[in-house]
Symmetry: C2
Subunit: 503 residues, 2 copies
């Protein structure tokens, strides 16, 4: 069989393997390849076959008829130099696709089947089309709870797993949807100051104006290698880092890259996604926060209860000590929305400033208290008071500063956006509702999280009185276009509902 010369094509196709073949390549014609066919690539001296999707090229500057062009991801996966002889063949579909088809037909999948699927996804053997088929089939039929556990285990098994060498490793996770909800940045130093091990890794914002990693980055470096992370955790009992460095449950990231553009959000996949990351990160004890409110991710308490049962069921089978807190998600937490403004709120709480947002402080103490009670030495019901003592004594602030120093202080000082506009109350009355979704939307349009200083600062919260034309919040932006988008969005719907005083 004829070979082609390997060529690197500097195109980043993200998490999809793509290769480029010239239309005049003899193999293209004789083998009957077609664009979007999946082909197997075997490089001389390599053990592993790599599977990729074919694009056809008519420009020799990209790839010549004697070459096979590899996109960045394929090039990295194959790990061979340019010019290496490569052989290509029609790829057979991964065998595990039979299980995907079975799922489409409504079958229950066993652990071994789900493991085979995740292995193939981890090895980039699935196209985006095939991954989508798997996800949508799971979503439509609804994963049974055994399947949720199987998927979690399979995603852990196909990635790295951290071992901290201790039996009590605590973590927390909020299922999200509440702007400004940066409790992790307060809970972690409190818990670590008490002495519990809390190697907190967080995500960046996907659809929200800021993730914990984005806000922490205002203070310190968050992209840390795994060895550096171990070092920091060893000395500080905690870290506040971005979780993307280690290859923890990598299949979860691939699934998310498909779920996100679809706006899909099924409970089974959400639970498997959260728990796989936490188990892979080495957590033994986990606190889950489920905020409930009319504009939160979870709208009803009954729905939250159902989720709680699923989390508990899965946690038990996974050997994870797991507790669920159902919290108030009626409005944003704290005042700032966006990295810099949220970072300011966090610092006000840590400094015990009288201007600190009380809701952020209280929620953080409640959750930290629950985590502290994972410690056998803390009496049930006393966690909150231990946490408050740590915060008020300044030991939490001190620990936070140590963590910043260990991770490396942020190289540049960022401030709130230079363009500002106050949004005024259209009438006098009482704040009756604040729409989490609309506030998040305006903050994102203003530039958060890309522009750290962009976002919203809330002046009024639920139940407060306001006079007509009094500012209810301020928009911050760095760039004109963003600023205009945010202002327009606020003009159409400012996200607040004001009930007129009945006098």
């Amino acid at each position: 069989m004829e070979s082609l010369k390997l060529r690197r094509v500097a195109i980043d196709t993200y998490k999809e393997n793509v290769v480029f073949l010239h239309r005049d390549c003899e193999l293209y014609r004789s083998e009957g390849f077609q664009a979007l066919n999946k082909i197997e690539i075997h490089a001389e001296g390599a053990d592993e076959l790599v599977i990729a999707v074919l694009n056809v090229v008519d420009d020799e500057r990209i790839t010549t008829p004697a070459e096979l062009g590899l996109s960045e991801q394929v090039f990295a996966q194959l790990g061979k130099a340019e010019g290496t002889a490569v052989y290509v063949n029609h790829a057979t579909s991964p065998e595990s696709l039979a299980s995907v088809r079975a799922k489409i037909a409504g079958s229950h999948l066993e652990y071994d089947e789900i493991l085979a699927i995740t292995r193939d996804i981890a090895a980039n053997r699935y196209s985006k089309i095939e991954i989508t088929a798997f996800l949508v089939a799971c979503s439509v039929t609804g994963l049974e709870r055994e399947e949720i556990v199987s998927l979690t285990r399979a995603m852990v098994a196909t990635g790295e797993r951290l071992d901290w060498g201790e039996s009590l490793v605590v973590d927390k996770h909020c299922i999200g949807g509440i702007p400004g909800n940066r409790t992790s940045l307060l809970i972690t130093p409190i818990v670590a100051a008490h002495g519990l091990l809390m190697p907190k890794t967080s995500s960046r914002a996907i659809t929200s104006p800021a993730g914990s990693a984005d806000t922490m980055e205002v203070f310190a470096r968050v992209e840390l290698g795994i060895d550096r992370l171990r070092e920091i955790v060893k000395h500080e009992r905690a870290c506040l880092a971005w979780g993307g460095t280690a290859r923890l449950a990598p299949v979860d990231d691939i699934l998310i890259s498909v779920e996100r553009p679809l706006g899909m959000d099924s409970p089974g996949q959400m639970i498997a996604s959260i728990l796989s990351k936490k188990v892979a990160a080495g957590a033994s004890h986990l606190l889950i926060d489920i905020p409930v409110g009319p504009t939160a991710k979870v709208r009803k308490r009954s729905e939250a209860m159902k989720l709680r049962k699923l989390f508990e069921y899965a946690g038990d089978l996974l050997g994870l000590h797991l507790e669920v807190v159902i919290s108030d998600g009626k409005q944003p937490i704290g005042r700032g929305i966006g990295p810099v403004l949220e970072a300011r709120d966090v610092m006000l709480v840590l400094e015990n400033d009288p201007l600190a947002p009380m809701d952020l402080r209280e929620k953080s103490l409640q959750l930290a208290g629950r985590i502290l009670e994972f410690d056998a030495d803390v009496r049930g019901g006393q966690g909150y008071f231990v946490a408050r003592d740590i915060l008020e004594s300044g030991r939490a602030l001190d620990k936070f500063k140590h963590i910043i120093k260990a991770q490396g202080a942020s190289p540049k000082c960022v401030v709130s956006g230079r363009l500002t506009e106050d949004i005024l109350a259209p009438a006098s009355g009482r704040i009756a509702a604040i729409d989490n979704l609309q506030m998040a939307r305006i903050a994102r349009l203003a530039g958060a999280p890309m522009d750290k200083g962009a976002g919203i600062d809330l002046y009024k919260k639920l139940g407060e009185e306001v006079r007509a034309s009094e500012p209810i919040y301020r928009i911050y932006s760095e760039f004109n276009a963003d600023f205009e988008f945010a202002r327009q969005a606020a003009e159409i719907d400012n996200g607040y509902r004001i009930e007129k005083d009945e006098t």
Copy 2:
């Protein structure tokens, strides 16, 4: 807002819109684009926005930081010259995606919703991921029969529609799965010789060793422009062309490009796919052939009946006079499998050669008879005899030759493959079963339909007696590699089951 210069990138991404942005492009950084984001492209002087998926490039030979590289399909859709100023923006998801999400959640979709989805797909506003989500959601939940009709109508509405200016336009379609089943090449000349209008457009093989268009191409050109087609049909009352030239139900082709790699095959989508093509092609009367057999697409008669009811229901609502024939699909039809070998069978029947395969002749006469009875002047039950008379008198052959001449005789004479191997009966006995799927597989491995002369010639059919070591069929190939693959496959499983004589 800043503009970029349009650049054509000679990469054929098939039916997915892809654009290329250099990593150092200022817009890429300032706008926070990410690989696989969907972006809107607006060209100076253009009315239409085009939506595409973003790939990130690090090589200025592909695209420079001041340019936006467009893959072939996007370049064609935008229709502007290289160097034109283009503006890019984050694309919002098509609004119709809300209906896809509703379908995932189990909702029934109304015609307007399905129309909006097909419109967005036709305008390339859906990514492959989004199309897959739609298809899988429909497949898992199962389209209700009203939805099948809505999808059919919507696919017709989003493409061209041929009008032949006559009230009786006949067509036929076989749902497939039976190798060698080339009845269209016989029915069309018979029916046209009688005077009925039968503008037959066929597909090329997707997963089979030959489609009607592939086999017809052995005789004549099949890729004809729509004007040429009209001309031919006007003079000959028929054509036997490839259906891909006109933009008939183009969304169907896009859906198929996703279904195929997934091996998906849901009844609702199949019916919508078939009927949309036929309605768009201007048919008023349609005969559907559903072969049933243990290795056919439809395994059971009860399943075929269910399909028939669905076809009839949809046909009535679409104003299509539709009849369904359930036929014998236990084994391949005729002797040849693969374009050249099937073409030989067709010619033997047309020439009333005593060696002509009787099953192909009989089935074609039966179906042609049913179509002839669409003509008010043909008495019920007499169609078969009229058809036989047309065939035996040589008028069908004559018409076939005229059609070939009108379409243009095939420029090259193709013959059966030069590499041959006879597969021998392992034991004496009676042929008890022939596996359609395995025969199709061996024929494809041998090189069909790419190599016209590749395929299988069957020496023995169901019920015939065979002696040990007597040849049961012959494999034909053009190339060594294909030949080896086909021989190996036949060695592992020759596709025949022989029952030993009980003596």
